[in-house]
Every structure is written in C-alpha cells, then in structure tokens.
C-alpha cells in the first residue's frame, strides 16, 4: 500500500511533457492498425527523423550548441550502409574491387552497421575537438557547422566512385543490418522495428539528460563561463555530448535509408540540416518531447498538404510551402520556446506562483501566532 502511494506520487511529480511522451508512444503504437501501407511506410521515415531530432535536441536544446549542419552526421551513417550495400551486392556502377582501408568494415553487413554509428561519432569528435579547444562558440559554431554541411554535400557528389554522385545509391530496404532481399520485412513489421529504435534512443536520451552529465550540459547552455568557476571543463562535456549526438544521428540515418531504399547527397545537405532545426524549434528545445512532437506534426502536415495540393495543381505545392514557412515564422515569433516548451514553461510558472503563495501564507500565520503570544 505504502509502496503504491509512493509510485503514484512519483507519477504526479513528473513534468507534463512526460505524459505527452506517453500519448505520442500510444499514438505511434496503434497508428499502423488504422492506416494504409503507404502511411505505414511514410511514418517509418518520420520516426527515423524523430530519432534524428532527438540527437539534435541533446546538442542544441540541452547544451546550447546550435548545429546547423547536423545532417552531415545523419548522412554519414546512411552512406555507410549505402556504400556497403552497393559493394556487397555489386551494383552495376561499382567499378572498384576493394574498399579503401578506412572503409574496410563495410565489406561485412555488421561492420557497416557499426561503422554507421562509429563514423558519425568520430566526425563529431573531430569537429568538436577543433572547435571547442579553439574556443569557437555561439553563432560561429553554427556557421561553421552550416558550412561543413555544404562542403559535405559537394564532397559526396564529387566522390562518385563510392557514392554514385548525384544519382545516389539504392539500398535493400526494410532490413536493419542485412543486405539480402530475402531478409526484407513487411512494412508493418519494419515500422515496429524502427519504433523500437526510437524508444531505445528516447530512453538513452532521457537517461543522459536526467543524469548529472545532463545537468552539467544544461549548465553549459545557461552559463558556460560560470561553470569553470565551479571547477568544470565545459569543453570536455560538450565534446562528449557532440559525440553521442553524432552516433544517434548516424543511427537515424541508417533507419531512414533502410526505410526509403536509397540515399543521395541531400541526406548530408543543408536542406535537411535546416529542416531538423525547424522541427526542434517548433516543438520546443530542451525537453526531448518537443523534438519528437515537432517532427511528427510538421512531417505529417507536410505529407498531407503535399498530397492535397498536388492533387489540385502542381503549382500549388509551391504556395503551400510558402504558407507553411509563414506559419513556422509566426510560431517562432509568438512562442519562441516552441509548442511543448511553452506548455512546460506555463506549468512551471504556475507551480512556482502557487508554491510562493503557500509559503507567504505560512509565514503570515507564523507571524500572527508570534505576535499573538506577545500580547498574551
């Protein structure tokens, strides 16, 4: 009995957004039961994007590092799977017999999957090392990552020997690791595999942000210099989270590529890097929920509107993109903390105000009792 109450209390103490997480989870769990195969496929891609958004939220929302080129890490993961798949299945355009030494793991399926996690982590470790030891901060960090994304796009197109340039690479879809056609799952099953990865990524992120490391990261975001006066080395913490974030982005890239069945240079490009920023900004930074909700809502809206408007006329797609862009700007200006961020904010302010009233009331009664005693 005692125990039961305790658990109930702990549930009540959870911030509102954890309930939202639960709603999102239930929604995603039942979604395929009510939808066409096409939407199950679309949603698998969106879930992969949600993982991507989570990785950015760790970096931007929690640590305050606004990466404007996060797609580099997403695409790096995706391309590992792509190159491996092309090499193993000997795609028509492949005219190399052996992989360069640093891509050797790609000759095995498992190796490719691991490389898809390790390479993005290494890339962010390297970028992070140069930036953070060079004391590059704030808008400069953003601009450099943005430039890197542009460079990565060109790099991928230029290295057509391995990446098949502009045409991109076809990949066996609806598997996680295997490259054989027989191993392909149906849309329905694959959807739940991707969802399982989202849940895993979410739990990892939640554990990180609730740990002491997570609190230090938030302190970096709030006031990095102040932290050094408490004996911390902020750059070490930034490097750690950048690396973890890179790995999660790489995982998202793999899942997305495996959903789509192909990858091209846009996976590392500026457009995707900007999109993920928008999802996180609209949903709300620094609470994990916002990143997921933002991606979900905006991507569903985009897909829906796309089909509605392209049904009317091809030109219309241009217009609704403008409308959507305008709506996004409106949200950013009216609620800078994003949808979920604003909800949490209002709740916290409300809680603080109520607690303050309680404290003042208690102090007042204590004061009256005190003066009552004196009179008596």
């Amino acid at each position: 009995m005692e125990n039961k109450k305790n658990i109930l209390d702990r549930f009540k103490a959870l911030p509102v957004n954890r309930y939202l997480d639960l709603i999102v989870l239930v929604f995603l769990l039942v979604f395929p039961l009510f939808c066409s195969n096409y939407w199950v496929y679309v949603m698998s891609g969106i879930i992969a994007y949600m993982i991507f958004a989570l990785s950015l939220d760790l970096l931007w929302g929690y640590t305050g590092l606004m990466s404007m080129g996060h797609s580099v890490l997403f695409g790096a993961g995706g391309y590992m799977v792509g190159i491996s798949c092309a090499y193993i299945s000997k795609a028509g355009w492949v005219d190399f017999d052996r992989l360069p030494w640093f891509l050797l793991p790609l000759s095995s399926e498992i190796g490719a999957f691991l490389m898809a996690l390790v390479l993005p982590a290494l890339i962010s470790l390297m970028i992070g090392f140069f930036m953070f030891s060079g004391k590059i901060k704030g808008v400069f960090f953003s601009l450099i990552t943005l430039a890197l994304s542009g460079v990565a796009e060109l790099f991928v197109i230029n290295q057509s020997k391995y990446t098949h340039g502009n045409s991109g690479i076809s990949v066996i879809s609806r598997t996680v690791i295997s490259n054989s056609k027989e191993a392909r799952l149906d849309d329905f099953t694959f959807y739940y595999v991707v969802l399982a990865f989202l849940i895993l990524a979410y739990i990892i992120c939640l554990m990180i942000v609730n740990s002491r490391i997570g609190k230090v990261l938030q302190a970096v975001r709030e006031n990095e210099e102040r932290l050094t006066f408490f004996g911390y080395k902020p750059s070490a913490f930034k490097l750690l989270i950048y690396t973890i974030s890179g790995m999660i982005a790489g995982l998202a890239g793999v899942l997305y590529v495996r959903t789509q069945g192909n990858i091209n240079s846009s996976a590392v490009g500026i457009t995707l890097a900007t999109l993920v920023l928008v999802w996180v900004a609209i949903g709300g930074r620094g609470n994990l929920t916002g990143a997921m909700v933002g991606t979900l809502v905006l991507q569903i809206a985009e897909t829906k509107l796309n089909s509605v408007f392209s049904g009317i006329s091809a030109d219309f797609t241009q217009y609704w993109k403008m409308v959507l862009g305008f709506l996004i700007l409106l949200i950013v200006f009216t609620i800078p903390k994003g949808i979920v961020g604003t909800i949490i904010d209002v709740q916290q302010k409300h809680k603080d105000r109520r607690q303050k009233e309680k404290i003042l009331l208690r102090e007042e009664t204590a004061y009256h009792e005190e003066s009552g005693k004196h009179i008596a």
Binding site: S211, R212, I213, K215, V216, Q218, A219, R221, E222, N223, R226, L227, T228, F229, F230, G231, Y232, K233, A236, F237, L240, G286, Q348, K349, K351, D352, Q355, K356, I359
Partner: protein
Amino acid sequence: MRNQENILLEVKHLSVEFNGFQALTDVNMKIHDGELHVIIGPNGAGKTTFMDLVTGKSTPTTGIVLFEGVNITGKSTTEITRKYHIGRKFQGPNVFDNMTVKENIEIAMEGYSSMTKCVFFHKSAAFKDKVSEILGLIDLYDYRQFMASDLSHGQRQWLEIGMVVAQNPKLIILDEPTAGMTADETYKTGEMIKRLKGEHTLIVVEHDMDFVRQVAEYVTVLNYGQVLAEGTMEEIQNNDEVIAVYLKED
C-alpha cells in the same frame, strides 16, 4: 591573529592594464587564514578586477598571486577552483537561470566536477543532506523546486552564495553580495556571512557601510586601482584620507 605565519592569499605588486587603461597599480595585499576581509572603494576602483586576477579570469600585466605560498598567477579558473579551492560569487547574481534552485546547488557541490565523477555520480543520502543543509542556510529550502529565474533578486543573490558554499572553498570571494537587497535582506545576508566565518576565509566587496560595519574585521580601501588604506574597521573609519574620498558620501 594577523601574523606572518597564516597568510592564505598574498598578492604582490599586482598591476593590470586594459588597452592603455591602468585598472590596478602595484597592489599588495595579504589575506590571513580564517579572517573576513572587506574591500571597499568607489565605483571603478578596481575591486572586481582584483577578483578577476585572483580567480584566473584575467592575468596581471605584472605582479603575482600566491595562494598558500603557491604561485597561481595565470592558471585557468577551472584549475584554481578545483585544485586551490577558491570560490567566487559575482557582482549581480550569476546563476543558472533555467534550472531549479536545487539543481543549481547540486551542480556547484564540491568534488563532482570532473567528467569521471559526473559519469559515476550517485546521489547518496549524504549528498542530499548536504544540499538540504545549504538550502536551509540560504533560506531557500521551500523554494528548492523553483526555477532560478522565478526567484526575487535577493533570493538569487542568496542562491549564488549557497552555490559558492556548496563548493566548500578555502577562500570565498563575494562581490557585492547585498547589492539590490532590502535592508532586512541585507541584515540577513550579514548574519549568513558571519556564520561562514570560522569555516572559510572570506573576501567581501561591499558598498553598503552598515553592512560593512556588521561583518568586517579587517578592511582594505581601494581607490583608482591603488590601495588607499588598510586596517581594522575602526582605523578605517577614522582615517582622514578614506573619509575624504569615500566615506564622505554617507
């Protein structure tokens, strides 16, 4: 009590120049172990600059800073904090705004700032007790779940004092801890600081003379980046030069 043996912090011939502007000129000062040393002086006298030099935020043009006899001039703030245990409260509350009061204290707690300590951190009962004790000391226990940004100005000052106490430094440096406080709050802060004496050595910069009289043992007066006078509160109050440049406004 003030003798040669128990000097905790000593600065020798400290000068610093910012693009041609001489902010400090040949400052010599000794802070003794266990004392509460107040620094006063008009705006722009170089009080904050002095603290910047001691805590490694900036480096002196000439001169050295000795802490327990070790030359710490030019060392990083992280090292000075972690290895030499100097804690500092900034002028105007400088806390982590979008985090709760409790989280602010927890971040500051002594001994958990290295990466490994953070990774293997486990919130022990002793840790929680210590946090609660500090929340009690700064009278913010009931406010522990508040966002730091939702506190009043005075409470934010206390929060930062609490954070510095949580670091458990040998030397605590407080830059204008009562700025912007009501008379009641200022008095309460004075009592708080007096309670810290004995366990820590303190340097306090303050303008509020009532407050200085409440807490001070030993006072240094800075003016135009130079030491104008130093001595006990009584000596300072009767020093003609100090009265002329500083105390006359009262």
